[in-house]
C-alpha cells in the first residue's frame, strides 16, 4: 500500500531540493564584490530619500489580502477544470457551491468599499 504513495514522496523531495537549490545556489556560486553604493537601495540613481522608520499605509495590505483571496480561488479551479469529465457531476456542483460562497464574500467586500483606493 505504501508503494503507491512513493511517487508523491519523490515529488516532494525533488520539489524541496530544487527549491532550496535555487535559493542557495546564488549565494554559493555568485561572485561577490560589494561596495558602498551597491549595498544601498537603488532609488533612480540617488541616495534614497525614504527614511528608515517609514510605515506603509494599511490600504496596501488590504489590497494584497483581497488579491490573494480571489487568486487562490482561481488556482483551485484549474485542477477541476482539467479533469472535469472524469470527476463527474459531483465535482461540478461542488465547484459551483465553492464559487457562490466566494461570490458572497466578493459582494460583501465590494459593498463595504474595500476595493476603492483610499
Amino acid at each position: 500500500m505504501l508503494r503507491d504513495y512513493l511517487p508523491a514522496l519523490v515529488f516532494l523531495i525533488l520539489g524541496t531540493l530544487v527549491g532550496v537549490l535555487f535559493a542557495t545556489l546564488n549565494l554559493i556560486v555568485a561572485r561577490r564584490a560589494p561596495n558602498r553604493s551597491k549595498v544601498e537601495p537603488y532609488e533612480c540613481g540617488l541616495p534614497s530619500e525614504v527614511r528608515a522608520g517609514f510605515r506603509f499605509g494599511i490600504s496596501f495590505y488590504l489590497i494584497a489580502m483581497l488579491f490573494i483571496l480571489f487568486d487562490i480561488e482561481v488556482i483551485f479551479l484549474y485542477p477541476i477544470a482539467v479533469e472535469l469529465r472524469s470527476f463527474g457531476k459531483f465535482a461540478m456542483s461542488e465547484t459551483i457551491v465553492f464559487v457562490i460562497l466566494l461570490m458572497i464574500a466578493f459582494a460583501y467586500v465590494w459593498r463595504r468599499g474595500a476595493l476603492e483606493w483610499k
Binding site: 561572485r31 561596495n35 558602498r36 553604493s37 551597491k38 544601498e40 540613481g45 541616495p47
Partner: protein, 219 residues
Amino acid sequence: MEIKREPVSDLRVRQLTAVDMLRGDLPEEDIERYVEERVLTTTVDRAVAWAQGNSLYPLTFGLACCAMEQIHVVASRVDIARFGFEAFRASPRQADLIILSGRVSIKMAPVIRRIWDQMLEPKWAISMGACCSSMGVFNNYALVPSDKFMPIAVHIPGCPPRPEALMHGILKLRDKIQGHAPDGWRERYDADGTEEVLPDGDFSSADISIFKPGDTAGA
C-alpha cells in the same frame, strides 16, 4: 559473375568504425581521432563567456540625442533582438550592460557612477557618441568625458552614431567578451610610438575617477 559493388559511402565507413570501436578492436590513435571529432572540448570560462556574450541585458538608460538613436536599435529595422540583446532591464540590479547614450553633465556624473556601482558584477559599459567619449561638440565646463569616472569597454564615435553603428559596437563588445577581441587601431596599423603615456604603477581607468564611488556631492 562480378558482384556490382556500389562505392563505399562515407556513412558505411562511419558505421564500420563505430562497430569496431564498440567491440574495442579500434587501434589506439583511431579512438583518439574518433573522440576528437565528436566531443567539443572547451573550458568553463569559454562556455560562460559564450553564454554571457550572447545574452547581454542592456539597461534602459538614455541621456540625450544618442538615446533617440538607441531606441531605433530596438525598433524593427535595426533589430537588436536578432542577437539576443533586446531585454532592456529598467533596474541596474538585473542589467549587465550600460549604454551611456548622450552627454554626461557634471550633475549627472555622480548619478551614473552610482548606477554603475549598483550594477552586478559581470558588467560592461559602452560610451555611445562623441559627447560621452570625449565631450564631443561641447568642449566646455558642463560636461565630463565618461572614461574619467567609469571603465568603458567600447567607445562608439558619431554624433549621434547611426543605429547600425551602435549595433556594430555591441557586437564588438560581444567579441571582446568571448575572448577574441578585435584588435584596436594601434594593432591594426601597428602604430607603435602612439601608446597612451600612463604614469607608472598599476593603473585602471576607474582610478582616475573624480568622484569616489558612492559620493553624490552635487547630485
